[in-house]
Symmetry: C2
Subunit: 461 residues, 2 copies
């Protein structure tokens, strides 16, 4: 079969690695993650020997003059990012500037120039993944994005490579560290959302503008990416239902705890049989003995359910320079390994000969081109937790029950938990119901004279 000679060539080629021109990186961005990545790549002792094949050729920054925490050869830094992504010497562009533009344009330019791309940018991938991955497939390059979801936790690659023989049934994640930190502190300290948010901002766990985190947008970006990989189809980001944690109150956390639940912001992608996909982000009551219930603080976790596998969970630090630069560097190392294991191209005997990837690995490249059909929320089935404030009259629970019954909503428990001022507080937990039916029942309940308000509506896992 000719194996005997080919490996010998490989060995020869690997052994003569000294003559081999290293793989050249152009890194865009030298903020927290950029600096962490450069530090990791330069500090090679006791790490994978393949790191020695990497050369950081150019780093794109806003200001070349600004003092930096890493030492790079003079001339490495440049504020001309376009010149980096088009530099013919560069093999891999590492995009760490974040945001939509100019990240999107720079990534597309890099791909057009035949460069592989590593990115940590969930916003740009979840919104322009279609354009970017089509361009990459056309150009025959890889776009690697392990760092875009779950920080340092390997989840993108395991989903692509290790779990893809399974029929994936659900991917359920705690994928935003800021909101998990806030919910954990609200539960353990009994503090309000606003107080914990201020603390989190002071400690650097939340941004000055916390919108993307607390309103669930970041989690929605991430579950779009995970769903696309897990279910083998692209996801339209604006079809993802997204509800944040602003309305989660201390009261609900306390009641949830009494009922045996903890409240988490879950990002869920789920398929039942061959029905359309559910992709959604919302605060959720999670049973305390569920694997995701014990994931606390800034930690992230992703639970994958598949057939015949069963459930596996990946958990770890979801953010931070160390964790994210681990993921970014692992993507870089994977590309370097692929480049190193590719045979000589036609120019092999020339002076600047370097191996190139000649055909993309279908498990690492983005194979899927079709969009997944996303189920409308009204069609989804879930359990609900609802808290009502009602007038303190007899028969109110009966009226609530009748309204729910009118719309086919079956109740698991109805408890009058106490009073707030002169209003009675009633907590309802339903059995599985269609969201649309529940919504109709609420519409009717809102018209009841005895019902003052519905301060909380949460879903139950």
């Amino acid at each position: 079969m000719g194996w005997a000679i080919l490996p010998a060539l490989c060995v020869l080629w690997l052994l003569t690695g000294a003559a081999f021109v290293g793989v050249k990186l152009g890194i865009l961005g030298l903020g927290t993650v950029g600096t962490g990545t450069v530090q990791l790549l330069l500090d090679r002792t006791e790490r994978h020997p393949l790191l020695q094949e990497i050369e950081i050729l150019r780093v794109g920054v806003k200001s070349v003059e600004k003092p930096r925490d890493v030492q790079l050869p003079s001339g490495t830094l440049s504020s001309d990012l376009t010149s980096i992504v088009t530099d013919p010497k560069i093999d891999i562009v590492v995009e760490l500037i974040g945001g939509l533009e100019p990240a999107r344009s720079l990534i597309l330019q890099a791909i057009d120039c035949g460069k592989h791309v590593v990115t940590a940018n969930k916003a740009v991938i979840s919104r322009f993944g279609d354009e970017i991955l089509n361009a990459a497939n056309k150009a025959g390059v890889y776009v690697m994005l392990e760092a875009a979801v779950g920080g340092g936790i390997p989840v993108v690659q395991p989903l692509k490579q290790s779990l893809s023989v399974n029929r994936i049934q659900a991917v359920t994640g705690i994928v935003n560290g800021t909101t998990n930190y806030i919910l954990t502190k609200m539960q353990t300290q009994g503090s309000s959302f606003d107080d914990v948010l201020s603390d989190a901002q002071r400690l650097g766990y939340a941004e000055a503008d916390p919108t993307a985190d607390v309103d669930g947008w970041d989690a929605a970006d991430k579950i779009s990416i995970l769903a696309a990989i897990a279910f083998g189809g692209r996801i339209k980001r604006d079809e993802v239902y997204c509800e944040g944690i602003r309305q989660v109150s201390q009261t609900d956390i306390t009641y949830a705890e009494k009922l045996g639940f903890t409240i988490k912001l879950l990002a869920i992608a789920k398929r039942e049989e061959s029905s359309p996909l559910a992709v959604k982000v919302h605060p959720t009551l999670v049973p305390i003995d569920h694997p995701l219930a014990s994931v606390s603080g800034v930690y992230n976790a992703v639970l994958v359910e598949g057939e015949p596998l069963g459930q596996v969970m990946f958990s770890g630090p979801g953010a931070g320079a160390g964790a994210t630069s681990s993921a970014v560097s692992s993507d870089i190392l994977n590309l370097v390994a692929r480049i190193k294991s590719s045979p000589f191209n036609e120019k092999a005997n020339g002076k600047n000969a370097k191996p190139q990837i000649t055909c993309l690995d279908p498990l690492l490249a983005s194979a899927h081109q079709d969009y997944c059909q996303i189920a409308p929320m009204s069609e989804l089935v879930t359990r609900f937790y609802a808290r009502f404030l009602t007038k303190d009259q007899s028969g109110v629970i009966g009226k609530l029950g009748t309204s729910f019954g009118n719309h086919g909503v079956s109740l698991e428990s109805v408890v009058q938990t106490g009073f707030q001022q002169d209003l009675a507080e009633i907590v309802v937990v339903t059995h599985d119901v269609k969201e649309g039916n529940f919504e109709q029942a609420l519409k009717e309940i809102r018209t009841l004279e005895a019902v003052d308000s519905i301060p909380s509506l949460l879903r139950v896992l």
Copy 2:
């Protein structure tokens, strides 16, 4: 850079896949995992499309006549396993017969014939990994072993590919489902080791001869494999310290719980600074808020600590046909993807042209050739839990404390927990001590007239 043409060739080649001869498997063994794997590979709807490129050409079994749960074309089954591993038509040999021989010889023969190997056999890899991986490197083929550790949990591949940029500090696992099931049941039901073992045997969670599980050998096999990957060096299996769970009593589980611990059989590989590696298996008191403490029943988990990553944990079903065949099939799929992404070889224009891997990916192949230096147990530092039965005399605790002090063993707590018959029971938890010093102290304590016996000695995480 020539990218523009090469991808076009790839696309052409992938599109003409109908003419492409599929990747041919020879599977050895059609027991639980073999049957599960065949079922998964044949039932392709809604799984990765690449599965369609796989053809199960031959399956080696003990008895061709025995009725089977899977339907295969006649002539597929054969009891001549050697003829399968040497069959020139076969690309990948999947070894699922387990045990040392003939598994070892068949794997080596397959490699000699230029075939890639997928195996779920931790015993053969932990003992003959050196010989097998050397042969594979020489032949330029891959040996894939995801299923050998952690059942369906992706851990081998993430360690090789996603985490290898890190300086790994420790890999700590609950890697044997049988012992974790037994310890969990002992804790939740308050039953004795012997009773739970009988139940587990009845339910199929423990073998008729449970030695390999309950004495920790299986866990030692697995941590040898994980340590080799994580620390980039081979491990001599007989240098791994191995202590099982037979001596763990209900009494100790109860005391551990009172002290805030749960008892788990941990498999640990750990390096402090650049000192030799600690590789060991023993029952361990794990703090209840530790991520591994909540892994119960037949579930497995592997916690990896690295720099700059921090801690990540992988958990899921550690055994069973579904989980294990997921791991086996994922290895097969990875090989198929590599084969498909390799360019045509020289025979490309011939009738039987098929792409071949021409140079091994250094992240997937076994690069390391040197043995790790393993630290002797006496040099390792740990905390201990010890339970003493002593005569009911005043001053006994003082005598114990003095003996420990004589050997530099510092104590965290000493509690007289009660009486057993006419003997006093004393539970001691130490601070970090060198194993050798603790052993010396015990030697002295055993000579004390007041000390009757030391029923339990356990380590604390």
